[in-house]
């Protein structure tokens, strides 16, 4: 029961590409570090997000696109 709930929460939050979650956490932490030393940090999160998205899309497109339809 606990395992099923934990798996459900994991799938709900993290989804089918866990690397997105990992890199988002790293992005926010790096943004906080840049801001903490007093440098302009507003540019970092948008730039990093687009890199994360492109990387994830590339991993999901050919030749690995044979995964076909997912449940959602």
């Amino acid at each position: 029961m606990i395992e099923r709930v934990a798996r459900g929460v994991w799938e709900f939050v993290v989804g089918d590409d866990w690397q997105i979650a990992l890199w988002v956490v790293a992005t926010i932490a790096t943004t906080a570090a840049i801001a903490a030393v007093g440098w302009p940090a507003w540019w970092f999160a948008p730039a990093a997000t687009l890199v994360i998205l492109r990387d994830s899309v590339r991993r999901g497109s050919p030749p690995s696109s044979a995964e076909g339809a997912e449940s959602d």
Binding site: F12, I20, A41, A45, P46, S61, E70, D72
Partner: protein
């Protein structure tokens, strides 16, 4: 109504409409195949549970300091939004099957018809409950997080409820899966909006001061939309090369 409130209402309305269409398709398939009584009970039970989730989580989140709230919610929205956007880009680029409500309806009808009569009530109840709960949880998450961040959970909840009402009105009038709803395009739009909100609030929670303050959100939406559109073309090109 301010620009931020309009963005909030549009994001929640689109996300709620998409999820409502998905839940409606499954409930319609189960209800029309197995009987409406148990399907309605499943929908009612899941709706009650979802109302409790929103009722508890909404006020709980607003207790957090605004910086911590934006850091937490921004990060979660960014993860959530990127997952939606990734799927939407892959679907628009042809690397992933489009979400087809008519096909999903046929699958659910076939599955419901294959279950024996003795499990009629529990099967219809469970499928309807699960569909509404799972699709509704995403809506509840978006309503609560976006609403709490703008200190306007009532507006977010109203936009979500209006979307569900619209889908139900059209769906019940048609008594058919809502296959003509541009679901994939709507998911693309929601992915762009959630990702933009996630970047904006996540960075703000991390200590960033945005140039232009709230006007930066509009630029972020434009940037994410443009980048996503370019990625769709990149995927289409890659798909074309694989197909040759």
């Amino acid at each position: 109504m301010s620009g931020a409130e309009i963005s909030l209402a549009i994001s929640v309305f689109l996300a709620s409409a998409v999820e409502a269409v998905e839940a409606f398709t499954i409930v319609l398939a189960v209800g029309s195949t197995r009987g409406w009584s148990s399907a309605y009970r499943g929908v009612a039970a899941a709706s009650l549970l979802l109302a409790c989730v929103v009722g508890i989580l909404g006020p709980a989140l607003t207790v957090l300091p605004i910086g911590a709230l934006r850091l937490l919610v921004g990060s979660l929205l960014l993860i959530f939004g990127l997952q939606w956007l990734r799927k939407a880009i892959l679907r628009a680029g042809g690397a992933k099957a489009l979400h087809d409500e008519a096909a999903i309806y046929e699958q659910e009808v076939a599955a419901a018809a294959s279950i024996g009569e003795e499990r009629l009530d529990s099967y219809a109840f469970a499928i309807a409950f699960k569909a509404v709960l799972l699709e509704g949880l995403e809506v509840a998450f978006i309503v609560v997080t976006l609403g709490a961040n703008q200190d306007n959970v009532p507006l977010a909840a109203a936009a979500g409820a209006l979307a569900v009402l619209c889908v139900l009105t059209v769906g019940l009038a048609a008594r058919a899966p809502l296959a003509r709803v541009p679901e994939n395009a709507m998911k693309f739009a929601v992915g762009v909006l959630l990702t933009s909100f996630g970047i904006f609030w996540g960075a703000e929670g991390a200590g960033v001061t945005w140039p232009g303050e709230e006007a930066a959100l509009g630029l972020l939406v434009g940037l994410v939309l443009l980048a996503s559109w370019l990625m769709v073309h990149e995927v289409r090109s890659a798909e074309g090369e694989v197909g040759r």
